[in-house]
């Protein structure tokens, strides 16, 4: 038994030496999603009618000589247009750009006439794995090794879920939203936690992810405000006016991107949303729908369209005709709908509860996940690695007030650390609070936008960002609990190799005091320290978790060499307890200019 334990420990040591938690999570998800997407029977989502929006504009068409089943079966191959593509864009989106990249890959490796959707899947897959790596890296940074691996396992369980990765083999815009938002989230944490020495690639990645996230689906245009709010919080990380101005300009640019995306919504698309916001929203739960319409100056007979979506197969009136445009759509707008809901709060509440009920449904149940050749029944759903989405669907309360409460509670919980950071002129937890508020607000906003903008039509798909935000908040909360930084500031910003090497190369990026002149370059400290603890961190940071320890903050003012680059600071606050001394010792070979104390974190 003891031998087995020893062997197990050896395996564990070897494993952890070469595979970091982030890499482990990435490899595991790569295997899980790879089997789902690229190993027969291939899985993906069937077309629910949305594919055409991005397919034709990207130069693809449905192959006429093969069976094509909307809803029932996932279709893998499409034709590549060989002549001039006269299809006009039905909506403004950055998605065709992604599809065209996949077509290029397809043409290079496979065929110039037949497009295999798996090339699009590969594209999403690779970027998704990158996003997972960065997110796990951001969350497990400065965390006890065992806990870091535990978190990596949780990451695999949550983000390896097939309900998310199934989207990759489809022409839905959701995978781009999923990947770009994870990058956005991870970059925010990595920047504020100073995980990497060079931050500009992270800012660049943040910018690209933001643009893709906002422009990939017009429904995301209002969410630009939330992303702008998160980015605006970076203002606390800078002291110089120039940097603050840049952050402000960046914030305005994000809002501008949202405004442009919103302005680009086509009339047809707007008509669809407007129609459904009435038939699948206002009329849906109204006690007397005819009366509601009449009160708003609309022909009460339109109450008979209650519950009928725009793409209902059999309709009593021509939806493309002038009559419905003049007598219904021209008579109201979203302000009308908002005013109506404010006057009928009980009905609005019911619809929001309906949205809350669908919030945790990620797998599109209306379409099949298998190819027809797989021999499955029409609209057959895969259950491969869907444990998390199944639990989530049943676990979360199905009332909207829960998410409001979650917003308030999370804001309250994360505010304490943010307040401490504010008091001590630090930025990490302030940005983290902005991220938490942003994600929580996104859940609320997505529900409100979906109900007001499109009623309950296609709700599960429209709410896609809500479960993603919940997932990200969940992993953030777990990581903060596991690393004991929920209420505390973990003072070192450093890059630590997570391998179990006894000789750890520690690269410490030390920040200048916020009050210091911004032109002072930061110092990069490289040292070699010995550690035999299990922590991925040097032992100097462990005491933070000790509640008995009086954590006294000290500041190290470190010499700045002329070779130092980017100016993020030169000093850092450290808890000064006896257990933190190794840190101080570790840096004692550096010139210690002063030690400041007296604050209790």
């Amino acid at each position: 038994m003891a031998k087995i334990m020893v062997q197990m420990r050896q395996i564990w040591r070897r494993l952890t030496r070469y595979i970091s938690p982030a890499l482990l999570a990435t490899i595991a998800i790569a295997i899980i999603a790879g089997i789902l997407l690229f190993v027969p029977p291939y899985n993906g989502y069937a077309n629910n009618g949305d594919f055409e929006r991005s397919m034709y504009i990207s130069g693809l068409y449905v192959l006429p000589d093969r069976p094509y089943n909307h809803f029932n079966y996932f279709v893998r191959q499409f034709g590549i247009m060989q002549y001039f593509n006269e299809s006009a864009a039905t909506l403004f989106s950055s998605q065709p750009m992604i599809i065209k990249t996949a077509i290029m890959l397809n043409k290079f490796f496979y065929s110039t006439t037949i497009f295999d959707i798996r090339f699009l899947g590969v594209l999403y897959y690779v970027f998704y794995l990158g996003a997972i790596y960065l997110l796990t890296e951001a969350l497990t940074f400065r965390m006890n090794r065992r806990r870091a691996y535990l978190l990596a396992a949780i990451m695999v369980f949550i983000f390896g879920d097939s309900s998310l990765t199934l989207y990759f083999n489809s022409f839905f815009a959701e995978p781009a939203m999923l990947i770009s938002f994870i990058y956005l989230f991870a970059c925010t944490l990595l920047i504020t936690r100073r995980r990497y020495r060079h931050v500009w690639p992270l800012y660049l990645l943040f910018a690209v992810s933001t643009v893709i996230f906002i422009t990939v689906k017009q429904q995301n245009a209002p969410l630009a405000v939330i992303v702008a709010f998160i980015f605006m919080s970076f203002i606390f990380a800078f002291q110089s006016r120039g940097a603050k101005l840049l952050v402000t300009l960046g914030t305005l640019a994000i809002i501008g991107t949202g405004v442009i995306t919103y302005a680009k919504i086509t009339k047809d698309f707007n008509d669809i949303n407007q129609y459904q916001s009435m038939t699948r929203g206002v009329l849906l739960n109204a006690k007397d729908p005819g009366k509601s319409l009449q009160a708003g100056g609309i022909n009460r007979q339109y109450a008979l369209l209650r519950g009928l979506p725009y793409f209902e197969t059999y309709m009593p009136q021509d939806l493309h005709g002038q009559e419905i445009k003049q007598n219904l759509l021209a008579k109201y707008n979203f302000v009308w709908i908002l005013r109506y809901y404010l006057g009928h709060l009980d009905q609005f509440g019911e619809l929001l509860d309906l949205a809350a009920r669908d919030t945790q449904i990620v797998q599109v149940s209306a379409v099949g996940d298998y190819e027809q050749s797989a021999g499955k029944a029409p609209i057959a759903q895969t259950h491969y690695f869907t444990g998390y989405s199944l639990i989530k669907k049943a676990f979360y309360p199905k009332v909207f007030s829960f998410y409001l409460l979650l917003l308030v509670v999370l804001t309250g919980v994360y505010s304490y650390a943010a307040y401490q950071d504010f008091k001590h002129q630090r930025s990490e937890n302030i940005v983290r609070l902005a991220l938490v508020i942003g994600c929580s607000a996104m859940i609320i906003a997505v529900c409100l936008i979906s109900i007001i903008g499109d009623g309950d039509a296609d709700l599960a798909k429209h709410l896609f960002m809500a479960p993603l935000a919940v997932d990200l908040l969940t992993v953030l909360l777990i990581s903060d609990i596991l690393s004991h930084r929920l209420f505390q500031f973990v003072p070192m910003a450093e890059t630590v190799s997570t391998s179990d090497s006894t000789e750890q190369a520690v690269m410490t990026e030390v920040q200048a005091p916020l009050s210091a002149p911004s032109q002072e370059p930061k110092a990069i400290i490289k040292s070699s320290i010995s550690t035999k603890t299990e922590s991925t961190l040097p032992p100097k940071l462990v005491p933070i978790k000790s509640e008995k320890t009086s954590t006294r903050t000290v500041s190290l003012h470190l010499p700045v060499g002329p070779e130092s680059n980017t100016s993020l600071g030169e000093s850092q606050h450290f808890p000064a307890s006896h257990k933190q001394r190794p840190l101080l010792y570790a840096h004692q070979h550096l010139k210690k200019e002063s030690v400041r104390g007296g604050h209790h974190d």
């Binding site: 009618g49 089943n69 909307h70 809803f71 029932n72 729908p289 005819g290 022909n299 009460r300 007979q301 339109y302 109450a303 008979l304 369209l305 209650r306 519950g307 009928l308 793409f311 209902e312 197969t313 059999y314 309709m315 009593p316 009136q317 021509d318 939806l319 493309h320 009559e323 419905i324 003049q326 007598n327 219904l328 029409p378 049943a394 676990f395 979360y396 309360p397 199905k398 009332v399 007030s401 829960f402 409460l405 979650l406 308030v408 509670v409 309250g412 919980v413």
Partner: protein, 530 residues
């Protein structure tokens, strides 16, 4: 004796088997023999070629001619020989004139001995040779079409190029083309010579459509009837403007004009008062001398397995209408519904009385069918406004206009006072004798589920029982709904829902308490202690 009996029995059995094998072949052969093959070169939707195709399909269905429609490009060699008659429609002359194009078809047509009708340009040499007369190629001319039956005239659009026949033998002609610039220069519009027929051009509306149908009728059946058209108000929906519609019904009732209404309905929300408001209008139509054709729903998407879905949609609509004492006498549908297996079986087959309307701009097939379905009586639609500029002796007059097939003159339901005024004007212009459904000897039948609506001589019957046109509770058996049972796991998650909420509330309370305590401590720091 037994052996003899056995021999006789064996002979009888052999005879039966032989007969059984022969009968289907005979039926099949007979069906094919009676079928018309309708071949077109191109849809050419840009020049409304699609409307010509569907109007001709409607005309043939109205004449109870089972027809197969096929594009020239899809024509298979030898296919023609299975049919009794063939119609060639050239929609796009530039495409068809390419040398060597569609040779399979033209070669088969040259050897075909049945009835042949060519519509449009690019008349082949062998086709020209079938007619006696002088062929003339005319360019850049405008003609007036004169209906030789009613002496009604209508100005036709300008023609770039067409081939006209100046017959020298005694042939059946339909209509006359009078050159607008040189009135003395005339040509027959349609010509029938034996099995051959020719129309230089064709339009789906106006006087040309009426004259062309007469020619087709003469060519196919060698008969020409005068059938009064049925005035039909189309596009009536539950969302129509009831005020204007009521005024129009009152107007028709006061003028004693018989009419029909093509009205859509809903399969859901029938419990709403708005549905009762709609059926009240429909009952008013029935009580004002009108009949109702249930218009099939507007279709937007193609989806698999729609046969049972559509069947249930139609049944639900009819059931809801019958419950409100509204009894449709037939089904009305756009023409493309008769070119689709699903629509034919699940939609049109509900009735033997079918009104075929022109197609909307966008059409969506579920399962395309090249062959049309034949009904008891089919009416083909023609818009009233296409007859508005028909003149007789220089005056706007269509009193003498006669129709050779059952037709419905359609007027769209008014949406406001202006369109109401226009509709009334159009109706007043229809001075020809109109069909009165109440006086017709034909019986309208609509089936749904196990029920049947019958309309005969202005009386409505449901399952053979006479029905008053007043709202009453018509007993139709309702399906029993099964109640769902909640599992214990559901109860657990319901409890867990609450537990999570309570936990969050507790955290909130703790946070608030800490905030209050913290604030108190903070304030105490600045208070002077006594």
């Amino acid at each position: 004796m037994i052996r003899r009996c056995f021999k006789w029995l064996m002979a009888l059995l052999l005879l039966l088997i032989t007969f059984n094998q022969l009968v289907p072949q005979q039926v099949g052969a007979k069906t094919n023999e009676q079928t018309v093959l309708f071949v077109y070169d191109s849809v050419n939707a840009k020049d409304h070629g699609d409307q010509k195709i569907q109007a001709l399909q409607r005309t043939l269905t109205t004449q109870n001619q089972p027809t197969k429609t096929v594009a020239m490009a899809d024509y298979k060699r030898g296919e023609l020989n299975q049919y009794q008659a063939v119609i060639t429609l050239v929609n796009w002359s530039q495409k068809t004139s390419v040398t060597g194009k569609y040779q399979k078809y033209w070669q088969d047509l040259a050897g075909f001995s049945g009835k042949k009708l060519h519509i449009g340009p690019n008349l082949q040499n062998f086709e020209r040779q079938s007619f006696t007369g002088v062929w003339q190629q005319v360019t850049h001319q405008q003609y007036q079409l004169l209906d030789d039956h009613s002496q009604a005239k209508q100005l036709l659009p300008f023609t770039n190029e067409c081939t006209l026949l100046q017959p020298t033998a005694n042939q059946f002609t339909a209509g006359e083309l009078i050159n607008q610039a040189h009135q003395e220069q005339t040509y027959p519009y349609g010509v029938v010579q034996g099995e051959q027929a020719y129309l230089p051009f064709y339009q789906a509306t106006g006087l040309m459509a009426i004259v062309a149908t007469r020619l087709i009728s003469q060519w196919l059946t060698a008969t020409s009837q005068d059938i009064p058209p049925l005035l039909t108000i189309t596009n009536v929906t539950p969302m129509s403007s009831f005020k204007e519609l009521r005024e129009l019904i009152d107007f028709l009732h006061r003028q004693d004009i018989p009419f029909a209404v093509s009205a859509t309905s809903v399969q859901t929300n029938t419990e709403l008062p708005e549905f009762r408001r709609y059926t009240k209008i429909l009952r008013l139509i029935e009580n004002s001398g009108g009949v109702i054709y249930l218009q099939v729903p507007y279709v937007y998407t193609s989806q698999p397995d729609q046969l049972p879905v559509l069947r249930s949609v139609m049944a639900a609509q009819l059931k809801a209408l019958v419950k409100e004492a509204v009894y449709p006498v037939g089904i009305s549908a756009p023409s493309f519904w008769n070119q689709d297996h699903v629509y034919q079986q699940a939609g049109l087959s509900h009735s033997k009385q079918v009104l075929l309307l022109s197609n909307p701009e966008t059409i969506s097939y579920q399962d395309y069918s090249a062959t049309n379905q034949i009904f008891g009586q089919t009416l083909s639609s023609i818009p009233a406004k296409s007859l508005a500029n028909i003149k007789r002796d220089g005056e706007l007059d269509i009193a003498k206009l006669r129709f050779s097939i059952p037709m419905a003159i359609t007027i769209a339901t008014p949406t406001d006072q202006l369109t109401l005024k226009q509709a009334k004007k159009q109706i007043q212009h229809l001075t020809m004798p109109l069909a009165n459904p109440a006086l017709l000897n034909q019986t309208g039948r609509v089936n749904f589920g196990k029920h049947q609506i019958t309309y005969h001589q202005d009386k409505y019957y449901l399952d053979g029982k006479y029905q008053n046109l007043t709202k009453q509770d018509v007993s139709l058996t309702e399906p029993v709904r099964q109640e769902t049972t909640a599992g214990t796991l559901n109860n657990f998650f319901k409890f867990q829902d609450r537990a999570l909420m309570i936990f969050l509330l507790l955290v909130l309370v703790i946070l608030l308490s800490l905030m209050i305590v913290g604030r108190r401590i903070y304030r105490d720091k600045f208070r002077h202690k006594k």
